[in-house]
């Protein structure tokens, strides 16, 4: 039994890393549902786009071969990694703003239109990625300090998973502080509660929506960059990412910060454990989970009535 628990430990670590990244991805997704009342089916594509931009900023394989940029690629990898972690989400935030501008025409209509529009946007983004970077898989180089692994007992642990878990945890903490301890966070939460009232109180609602969408997109991009060395970077990775975001939101309940975090951890754990013991079926477990959750508990652990139910 003790042996079994020891072999279980690395998978649990994987589950925690995966779960925290799912939580980060879903929190951006949830902010967008809250303020825009739109189910952003393109969220996974923004996640993928973040990973691709990061590849572009990390190595010349990413497509920037102009000699003007050569000195940049001679910089130490740690520096480039930090640049990628800041600049790539900023690019994705701009793409997200573009998407929000398109979405404006669907506000106030049947939520199905927002769903359809973001579905079209997901298709366009995926095809664009295929066109620019090709269908082949990329690998995101990472600094030596966070690659490799170490032994604990008889099992090998990946340093990167620990880095991913810690980084995601820090981001979630910062996000919580931002939402709960700053005036901007207060406006966002108020917007999610009743956006018309926020407008009446004199805030520029269009601008709030634009920024919140950009912010959500940037969170997706950060999750994409951190996930890239674990999942690889393929055009299709967006679809693989949007489904867990859905499951987490449905399970945790719309509007609940800690609901999303705990649901993210649960989903990450389920996926990591099925991947360890039933590799073939690991993706299936996610869909089964979605089905079970929506059937029995569609408002999740702590959800309120939301745009999802319209």
């Amino acid at each position: 039994m003790a042996d079994f628990l020891l072999t279980l430990l690395p998978h649990l670590l994987n589950g925690i890393a995966l779960g925290l990244l799912f939580a980060l991805l879903s929190l951006g997704f949830m902010l967008i549902i809250g303020v825009m009342e739109v189910i952003n089916l393109a969220h996974g594509s923004l996640f993928a786009l973040g990973a691709y931009f990061a590849v572009m900023l990390m190595s010349q394989d990413g497509g920037i071969t102009h000699p003007f940029m050569a000195p940049y690629f001679d910089l130490p990898i740690v520096l480039r990694y930090i640049v990628a972690l800041i600049v790539a989400p900023a690019f994705v935030a701009v793409v997200g703003m573009g998407l929000e501008v398109c979405l404006r025409r669907t506000y106030g209509k049947d939520p199905l239109y927002g769903l359809l529009l973001t579905f079209g946007a997901a298709l366009v983004l995926e095809e664009m990625i295929r066109e620019i970077w090709g269908p082949a898989e990329y690998f995101l180089p990472i600094p030596k300090a966070i690659s490799g692994g170490f032994f604990f007992g008889d099992m090998i642990y990946s340093n990167y998973r620990i880095f991913a878990a810690v980084f995601a945890m820090a981001m979630i903490g910062l996000l919580w502080a931002f939402l709960n301890r700053t005036p901007y966070g207060a406006v966002i939460k108020a917007g999610a509660h009743d956006s018309e009232m926020v407008r009446v109180l004199g805030y520029n609602l269009s601008r709030l929506r634009l920024y919140v969408f950009a912010f959500g997109a940037a969170l997706a991009a950060i999750a994409g960059i951190i996930m890239a060395p674990i999942w690889g970077v393929r055009p299709h990775v967006g679809v693989d990412a949007v489904i867990p975001a859905f499951v987490v939101i449905v399970l945790g309940g719309v509007g609940s910060f800690w609901g999303a975090v705990s649901a993210g951890l649960l989903v990450g754990m389920v996926v990591a454990l099925t991947a360890a013991y039933l590799t073939e079926w690991s993706l299936l477990s996610m869909y089964l989970l979605l089905l079970v959750v929506v059937t029995f508990r569609s408002r999740g652990f702590a959800g309120k009535a939301s745009a999802l139910e319209a």
Partner: protein, 346 residues
């Protein structure tokens, strides 16, 4: 019965656009080569029209977005092949097998989802479709996995006295056309029957329909199962056209493209929306595809533009065009279908 009553009962069954579609599709193999296209394209269009009509029965008429209908197209194709291989190599039996299996599986899925609407409904269909996809891709003994189910024959049409071979695309096309005629007339009658009124009312406000004493759950269950059965028929025809059943049509992307097609055509406001959408999609694929490999990108952009500026689709443009030209607008099948239902009502 006098002349007039024959005419009005004829009009209840057949309308001018319907007869026009019969004329165009009925003669298509004769002129499709002459306009620079090819016979197989006609076959694909005919099969996808049947599929899109089934999708629109849910999306446009009942307001239920199924993002997983591609899975049922695939199930129909596999069931057709498996009946043919394991039961009897008879066309009618195999078609029946395809429709029955798809209807049963669709009915089971509908048991799980019929109490849902809107986004949750869409989510549940995605989850169910992906589960079918994974089963089909892993259950290699039955479905052939990633390789697909190969060598599905185009079985001869056995009419009792005589047998017609449908080996050529030309003759298979007419089998599909016959299926189209039956399904279009059937669906037209269905959506204009009292049953059809109830499902459009469910689209508008399902709680109010429930207050009126209708069993909303049962109506949704029936319409989903029926839509799946029609999709299964399209899948069987597709298996014959491709001479095999492959997993790719079961993927999420194809289910999404079916929704795209229906919306671009104008399924929300017109019975004929899906038909226009399918023609538009396949022409775009062949024409844009001749110039660029990334035609799906451009098609996606057209779709996004359509949702933003003209969610009524091609059918909506046609209606606006007629109004602009000062002619009376085409008679709408339902005033209720012209407006997207207001979100919720409870």
């Amino acid at each position: 019965m006098n002349q007039n009553s024959y005419l009005s009962s004829f009009r209840a069954w057949f309308t001018a656009p319907m007869l026009l579609s019969f004329l165009v599709f009925g003669t298509m193999p004769l002129w499709i080569d002459a306009v620079g296209l090819y016979q197989y394209l006609g076959l694909e269009v005919m099969i996808w029209v049947i599929f899109a009509l089934a999708v629109n029965l849910l999306l446009g008429y009942t307001g239920l977005p199924s993002f997983g209908h591609g899975a049922f197209l695939g199930i129909g194709a596999y069931a057709f092949g498996l009946t043919q291989f394991n039961v009897a190599a008879n066309l009618w039996l195999s078609l029946f097998g395809a429709v029955a299996v798809t209807a049963i599986l669709g009915g089971l899925v509908a048991l799980l989802i019929s109490h849902r609407r809107g986004i949750y409904f869409a989510l549940m269909t995605i989850a169910c479709a992906q589960i079918f996809y994974f089963i089909a891709s892993k259950w290699t003994d039955v479905t052939g996995g990633e390789d697909g189910l190969l060598n599905i024959a185009r079985l001869p049409v056995d009419l009792g006295l005589t047998e017609i071979s449908i080996r050529s695309n030309f003759s298979l096309y007419y089998l599909c056309f016959a299926a189209y005629v039956i399904i279009v007339v059937g669906l037209w009658r269905l959506v204009h029957s009292p049953f059809g009124k109830v499902i459009s009312a469910i689209k508008q406000n399902d709680s109010r329909v429930a207050f009126l004493g209708y069993n909303v759950w049962l109506y949704k269950w029936l319409i989903f199962t029926l839509s799946c059965a029609i999709t299964g028929l399209a899948g069987a025809l597709f298996a014959m056209a491709q001479e095999g059943a492959y997993i790719n049509i079961m993927s999420l992307q194809w289910s999404g493209i079916a929704i795209l097609i229906v919306l671009i055509g104008g399924g929300f406001i017109s019975f004929w929306g899906p038909v226009l959408g399918v023609i538009f999609y396949f022409l775009a694929r062949d024409i844009l595809g001749a110039y660029t490999e990334t035609w799906l990108l451009w098609f996606g952009l057209i779709f996004v533009g359509m949702v933003m500026f003209k969610p009524e689709g091609l059918a909506g443009m046609w209606r606006d065009g007629r109004t602009l030209l000062g002619r009376k607008p085409a008679p709408q099948p339902e005033p209720s279908v012209t407006e997207p239902s207001a979100a919720g009502g409870d």
